[in-house]
Symmetry: C2
Subunit: 209 residues, 2 copies
Amino acid sequence: MLEEILPQQGRLLVVSGPSGVGKDTVLERLLDPAQRPPNLVRCVTATTRPPRAGETYAVDYYFFSREEFEARIAENFFLEYAPYGERLYGTPRDFVERERARNNDVILKIEVQGALMVKQAMPEAILIFLAPPSWEELERRLRARQTDDEEAIQRRLQTARRELETAPRYDYLVVNDDLERAVETLRQIILAERCRIVHGDAHVPPPPA
Amino acid sequence: MLEEILPQQGRLLVVSGPSGVGKDTVLERLLDPAQRPPNLVRCVTATTRPPRAGETYAVDYYFFSREEFEARIAENFFLEYAPYGERLYGTPRDFVERERARNNDVILKIEVQGALMVKQAMPEAILIFLAPPSWEELERRLRARQTDDEEAIQRRLQTARRELETAPRYDYLVVNDDLERAVETLRQIILAERCRIVHGDAHVPPPPA
């Protein structure tokens, strides 16, 4: 009888945090079909990198040529986009809007700078900062990945320090000290937000520096 | 490493909603020692009614004489107070502040008008509106209590209609269609709020009419 005071569409939940904090593992677990909350979908993003074997268009990524991608930038197709090395990656606005209109919550994993850009473009987005329990643990996790040399690790740690400074602009802080606990907290946030009455004073952070 | 961006004290959670919606049953279940979230205490309120057999001062209520109660009103001792029939009831500010300083979340059950007064006095309070699934169900529950005659039931229903209009000033809406589900939702809200970053733009509703 009162549900109309709740938002009549799904939410956009943005999970971010420094490289090495465990964003992928946490989201994979949250979205595991055996325990995934109902009406929650992962945002399919766009990329100019070619599909790998077994990857499907619109399931894993929207695969665009560089020309297609750039044409879509001009059309305001992306909530945010950014280059990584040679490639472009972006968040398609219409995917988010379509799923929200179906009353699905959309969860987007993105790096810190991108998360703040999404909040600029869609101020009602709910930003969740996944933080490491300590610097030592973050460094340990980066080394454990064995993907980076010492210089790259030091660069990632330096970036992480800058990124942690933006956490106060987020809506939630989840410390990933224990995987199951972090997943459970994320699930609680998602379900609690479904009961949240929005007062039109959503926090809009200043644009990223 | 980042916990300092979260509030460094417990929260005040206010559960309200119309008479007959099931506030007592939901809170009793939430606070059941077998499943109560850690660091959550129920607010002990003050009253001028005399203790009943088995009731203990500062556990069930703070029992004050009318003179003591009125002296405390003058001292700004209460976050809010109100008469019910011959008696006065109030929420002691110092109980709430003491428990919050101990990093305990305080949960307060209160009628709708009182909840809005608490939010005025403590704008960071988190207001949760417990709503019936339908008018018919609210009427059925009021009749099932067998405590009121027809006139009293009609009066309560009329009051409920006015109270439901204030729900948009709350922070959360929980529909009590199923007891276990309502309790679980309340628990999710409490735990999610512990990770919430407060931006200093807490919603302050206009004073109750």
